[in-house]
């Protein structure tokens, strides 16, 4: 029976060896060892960006670790998390001498909003989270964005850039910014299509909004609407789908 016993022992030992060998190396949660702790994380730049699905955002996401007095703290370990498909380069690290940590965010393949989290732990091992939102545009919505840049933003965007001076202030009736979800979310896709295609008077609104139905194709107007829905703030909820209760 010693042979059987030794066989059992051998099997157990080799199984354990196999298990340890194959197991993934435990991911060190804190990354580099933190030198100091923060009491708050704030976004320095890079939030609320609009990028393309599956592509890195144009600007890096920069977060800053602050202490109780609001002073930047260097050497704080910060980790970034996001929904499936989002990747960060680097995925975490310690804040630099100015108390900041920068990462390049690549958004997932679905168009829409992405809630990203930067997190760290306080001295008392309490978790501190900072939520940042980014928007990903797919092919259709990028087309909408390009159309917005060309035709719409000159009036609908109150901000001016060196290349494009805004006409917003010159209009007697102020157009709605496309991010103005409070107004635009109440309008159905059909209403938006009517306004874009036939102009403001189609819905008894200002004639300052000209019709684009003879200039843009229907697919282009739909792309524009898809884009408007994606950037609106507060977020647009599509009209309710009726689900069968489980």
């Amino acid at each position: 029976m010693t042979a059987g016993k030794s066989l059992t022992v051998w099997v157990v030992v080799s199984a354990m060896a196999l298990a340890t060998g194959c197991a993934r190396k435990p991911v060190s949660a804190g990354g580099p060892v933190p030198v100091s702790y923060a009491s708050a994380l704030v976004e320095s730049s890079g939030g609320k960006q609009i990028g393309a699905t599956g592509s890195p955002l144009p600007q890096p996401l920069v977060v800053q670790a602050n202490d109780d007095q609001g002073n930047a703290v260097p050497g704080v370990a910060v980790n970034f998390h996001g929904p499936a498909g989002v990747s960060f380069d680097p995925p975490g690290g310690v804040t630099d001498s100015s108390g900041q940590l920068s990462t390049t965010v690549t958004l997932g393949a679905m168009a829409g909003r992405y809630q990203l989290t930067a997190s760290t732990t306080s001295k008392a091992q309490k978790k501190i989270d900072l939520k940042v939102e980014e928007i990903a545009l797919d092919y259709q919505r990028r087309l909408g964005q390009a159309l917005d840049e060309k035709y719409c933003s000159r009036c609908h965007n109150p901000e001016s850039t060196p290349e494009r001076v805004s006409n917003f202030d010159n209009l007697a009736v102020k157009p709605h910014a496309f991010t103005d979800g409070d107004t635009l979310n109440k309008m159905s896709d059909a209403d938006l299509l009517a306004i874009i295609g036939y102009g403001g008077p189609a819905l008894n609104r200002s004639a300052l909004m000209p019709p684009y139905g003879y200039t843009l194709s229907k697919a282009e107007m739909q792309a524009l609407i898809a884009y408007i829905r994606t950037v609106s703030d507060p977020p647009y909820q599509a009209p309710g789908m009726v689900y069968v209760a489980k």
Binding site: A52, Q140, R142, A146, N167, A207
Partner: protein
Amino acid sequence: MQSSDPKPVSLWQTLFGDPTRAFGIVSVLVLVLLAIAPAKNYFSEWRHYQKGYLRLIRTRGEAVTLQRHFQPGIQQIWHPELGVTDRCTSCHVGLKEASLFDVTVQPYRRHPVIPHNTEQYGCVICHRGQGAATTVEEAHSSTLAWEQPILPARYLESGCGQCHRASLASTPQLNQGRALLARYGCVQCHTIKLPDGGSMQATQDAPSLSHIADKTTREWIFAWLKDPQSYAVSATMPNFKLKDEDIRDISAFLIANSTPIPGDNAPPIASKLSDPAAGASLYGESFCASCHAVQNAAGNLVGGNLGPELTRIGNKAKPEWLRAWIRNPRVYDPHTEMPHYRFTDQQVATLEGFLLAKSDADLLANVHLDPATPEQIAHGKSLVMEYGCASCHEISGIKKPENFAPELSRIGSKPVSQLIFLPGMQHTLPEYIAGKIRQPRAFAPGLKMPQYSFTPTQIDALTTALLALNDRAQALPPAVTIPPPAASHYRPAGKAGQIMADLACFSCHAINGRGGDMAPDLTWEGSSVQRKWLEDFFRNPGTLRPALIRRMPKFNLSSEDITVLSDYIMTVYQTPDFERDSMPESGYSPTQVERGRQLFYSKYACQSCHIVDAKADKGYIGPTLTAVGSRLTGAWIYHWLKNPQALRPGTIEPNRNMSDDDAGNLTAFLMMQKGSTAKEAKR
């Protein structure tokens, strides 16, 4: 342990000793063997995913519709002429279901909206991967036999580029990549043969170095070769990472090899250099910034990128050369895109002083070169040949090398097994291409490809454009490809043609398909404007659009030149679609004008973008119309109102689908807007 048994019975005897038992056992074995194939089929991955899909849709409101659309079994999209055999839809079942917009789990997401039907072209054309595979691993990853993994989403626009060979409005990344390939001189060393037969051409010609000693000093060449971007951040010249001795020898060779051009250096102009503000205002008035950028105090580049950046031009240009260049750039470079401004001597001196002051004391502070020896010059020449400088630059005595670098016509299908990767790199083709652009010299010692300073976005764009150059693109049937529009080599004729070449009109304006896009297309300018306005505009170009930064410069044209140009434009650049004099310049009935006014202000609300009454109207997207009746022809206004895009494709003025009556009344109203000078003249 068996040895301890008294009567050993072999396993064979136990099982097959009895023929009946043997028959039974063999039957069971055969049955099991027969069951393997159906079982493998039953437990296949795609069946698992299809079951999952049915579970997913069961709870949805539109379950019945979705169930009706669902087809069990392996699905296939087959287009032999495109080389497409795609079974992806066996697992990606909900691709076409618009109502699945909120599903985020794969493989059940619906396909994002694109201009094509997925069934028309299949999946692998854009996404790559192995279309014929029926397991996730084989379809998505590279295996020994099939090495085409799924393309990361960031390079997806490369799929569009296989068929669409011209720029597409909706593929900005691909367009950018192609433009970079042409602008940064990639195609000067790497041949890129296009499937249509031609090859990709560079859009920017690097300056000729045959006469460089006229223009700049050996010290500047040294500093430039050491690090082009330290002289100008926007420089397209890459860094060749040369040793200081090599740069010394190359600069020695270039100076020694240079031959002077008679007339490209001018003696100093004796003039009191007036206040420095005069230079800045002349630089502004001449709209130099439309083409040339200058770095401002905050480090941002301000200005266009048609001409070289001028932030440190004072370090580079010799004063006598700069003077001659400002006076007439065509003496030094007959093909330059810079217009020949007809500056007075005083203006030349003012601009010279202003530009020479743009210098950086540190740039050349540490450059001390001893006089060159013949050995150094000979060594410099061999280096110039070795690094292929003549691929981009014209250098007298050195021929442009042929096939200097590997051809890239099919780089997008290069087998991964032929690539050498850096340690830590993902073993995929896109990673390899991006890595080569990012750090070309890291891949092997002795590589000659220079270091570019591209941003990550630019590298992604370049990779996308290169991935579009693949075997499939070369082999696509002509019926599915959209070739680029034929390149126009239009050149205006006669005296007017000479003046237009001298003024480099085509750098900004396009005519008959040739030219830049900075300024309006002038193909039908003769039908559009009134002759008197055109002549006045040449004499003193005003701005039509208050919100524009880039504007027409004043060229100080002589009266004869203006007459020649106006004659030519008014006669030649006319649209065949309507007669330019078919509507009168004035004499419209007051009723018509009044109706036009009402249409302008209420029905069409043109004042949101245009100004007619300078006091009341404020819109400034479109041109100011206060004097439009002295600028445009009635026929142009009428046809423009009817369909703006027909006259100038891509213009943002919306087509209002106007009735003939409305367009006529509005034309009457607009033609009465003669501007203040005309009104005063009448009084």
